[in-house]
Symmetry: C2
Subunit: 508 residues, 2 copies
Amino acid sequence: MAKAKTAISPTRAEDYPEWYQQVIKAADMAENSPVRGCMVIKPWGYTLWENIQHVLDQMFKDTGHVNAYFPLFIPKSYLEKEAAHVEGFAKECAVVTHSRLVDDGNGGLKPDSPLEEPLIVRPTSETIIGEMYAKWVQSYRDLPILINQWANVVRWEMRTRLFLRTAEFLWQEGHTVHATAEEAMEETRKMLAVYADFAENYMAMPVICGEKTPGERFPGADHTFSIEAMMQDRKALQAGTSHFLGQNFSKASGIKFQSEAGNEEFAWTTSWGVSTRLIGGLIMTHADDDGLVLPPRLAPSHVVILPVMHKPETAAAVLEYCESLKKELQAQCFAGRRVEVEIDKRDMRGGEKRWSWVKKGVPLIVEAGPRDIENNAVFVARRDTGEKVGLPRAEFVATVAERLQGIQDDMLARAQAHRAENTQTIDTLEDFKAYFTPQNAERPEIHGGFAIAHWGGDAEDEDRLAKEMKVTIRNIPLEGQFGYDGEPGTCIYTGKPSTQRVIFAKSY
Amino acid sequence: MAKAKTAISPTRAEDYPEWYQQVIKAADMAENSPVRGCMVIKPWGYTLWENIQHVLDQMFKDTGHVNAYFPLFIPKSYLEKEAAHVEGFAKECAVVTHSRLVDDGNGGLKPDSPLEEPLIVRPTSETIIGEMYAKWVQSYRDLPILINQWANVVRWEMRTRLFLRTAEFLWQEGHTVHATAEEAMEETRKMLAVYADFAENYMAMPVICGEKTPGERFPGADHTFSIEAMMQDRKALQAGTSHFLGQNFSKASGIKFQSEAGNEEFAWTTSWGVSTRLIGGLIMTHADDDGLVLPPRLAPSHVVILPVMHKPETAAAVLEYCESLKKELQAQCFAGRRVEVEIDKRDMRGGEKRWSWVKKGVPLIVEAGPRDIENNAVFVARRDTGEKVGLPRAEFVATVAERLQGIQDDMLARAQAHRAENTQTIDTLEDFKAYFTPQNAERPEIHGGFAIAHWGGDAEDEDRLAKEMKVTIRNIPLEGQFGYDGEPGTCIYTGKPSTQRVIFAKSY
């Protein structure tokens, strides 16, 4: 049946940015708080973050990392130690200057007891963690240090958007120390691969692993690598980064060790992080005009059962049928977790109830009523495709894990197809400009997508390009990645020689 | 064999406060950071916190709660809304006043871009969460709200001590909203019982559930309940609190709802929390003069295997024996988790290696060498009692879960016995004073312990008692609790009539 109306208004085609906000609202995932730029993550959004944390945390542990916790505050003097780092973070940070509030004489309070040294609420923790590592590392025997932290961080962003860019956000930050540059680079690349594995196999969000250009590096890094995903509006989202910090922070913090040969050397460090921004990426990869669509491997609930209880005389039997179905389903295992099932017993109209779960993106919606009991059957709808099917109950239970994996696979395949359809190899500046120029002035967001083209410019050229066309280099794909082409050529923008093609896109 | 020397110096008997610091250092759990009052929780300490979180989180979910996340910052004006609350928290809080650092002209940075309204780093979140709840709650149908948050909070404490009292600490804070006072009180008591269950059955730390006196209530609460534990120095530790907030915060934040009868009413709220302070309680309940002793149900590793590899010719066979033993042990289940096993292959002296695990408190330390292989045996030491025994390997594997539970039970029993031995029912002020007066001026910490005595004073009397003797009322035990005696009597301090006995102690 063709839908007369979508659950989300406006639709993606009508107004993509507003659609995004409305999907979050309809799924009850998060909302803006009265504190400028800070969001409230509501239970449905937070459970998704818990599931993301759970999977990533296991991946970090499987690669030899342990968790620890470092202070929220960074003394101003620490931030000053690494020049590029200051440059990157001083402009937008929350500064704690007082440790007390006292009566202001007008029935209110005013700050009192100024601190000797202002403290910065961590925007990232390289400097405070480096200070501790300098104490902990004496000898090559103390290396490597492989620590991760789950924490909140604050960056005083001017324009914020739920999940994608908020003043306070939740993230993990890995901080490792190594005896050699080679080992640190290996770690940097390994964690990038962990992020890509997670994005593709759990979020069903294909990503390109590549190196950022020098102008786009993390402040203080020698090399920054990223995973870049294409959203449904064909813009890129940087979804995670992994930094080879060289000896910059070990020199700033004094992380020195006695090598096996007996020399005193500065250590090599890395850092890597993903944040609640991933949730924004997940929404913009999979949600549709009816709301959120959750990849089964991260869904808080896999199946919601809606008991059809119009008739009082059959209501008890229906509920019993649903409860026993729930038990059978929960005895099944999917992707290392129990199949999570919810029965929605709320007293509300069937249509309204059904739509509430469509908007929340639960992978499988099951309806069961008196007729289903008679036939020992269930009526199952797939959230991602809308496909509906009546099935013998036993068959559904036996195949639920397989069905969930099928949805997961199809979601990834659709996202891959979307990226492939909206990516083009381009060799002339004319084609490049046409590709990124919106066809319709009223819909400036509609443009080509990803361009795979040669680049030989420097940071200034990149800035000019960004100003001129709002297009940036997302990354330089690593060998074997989507869009990788290691053949030399000519820079599309500057005409200089280029050693390989890079990914260009508009971005979040 | 009598130990010539203990691993921790000083011992508990020599200097209890310093012993506590040294246990933490020897187990490598945490250390002070260069940021005033903020600690770094190192991996061994953090994993313990993760295990605490994991168990409590499941308990919260089993009682119908969900997690969410609210902003780190609280606008100054929100804190001003509840009078008692301001009084309690304004005196020691981190105040954010600027959003930027700029060049100070001397090669350093200075705060810039003052905020219109200062922000407080949350010391607790009643006011900011209340603000959101006021939006979310319209009708009785929206109630109850049962939300928990895992977060960091900051209180600018003057004197800090690792885990027990730090400027920043990690905790969970439950915040619930109800339609009736009865339901809110039921929630308050239910969560107190959850904390007691956790303390006794996971931490092996017996606690007394009771109500705080009016002077000791949470700022803004109508009733505050606590769990109180006795440490090895006989002082009390308040290990968790649950607050019935009445309508105080719903009036301050405007949490109103339309009742089933159609009237507009203020809601009833509760809040409840435990923090990383629990780790301090765990240490002071169980650690001994050789270091940490972990209750098996929370231990990061249950068993550590030390391969005896003096002889190069048998080293490979020993390692193989240990690896296969590890696999067999990990196939066992204890308290809902896999039995966690570590093999310590580090190249260091056997004694030093063994002591490192004793100091970390792992419940079972297994040594296996060439002779054990011959006999298909293992040599097992219990950390808590020091008891050592040679066992057939298969027997050890088959009984490991039972042995761990045995340790858990014995630890709780010992802590209960310690509390029983150091608690006294007292009826005269003379006995009371003698009980709390140290026998030895050089060891002011040595005193009686808990006193169960009648109290009929007010908040001022309590203050006087605290100043005079450093003794406070820990709580008024609930019916059925250790120390409960609901018979009326005469106040030991004021001579006024008393309705029941309360728990007096010196405390952390």
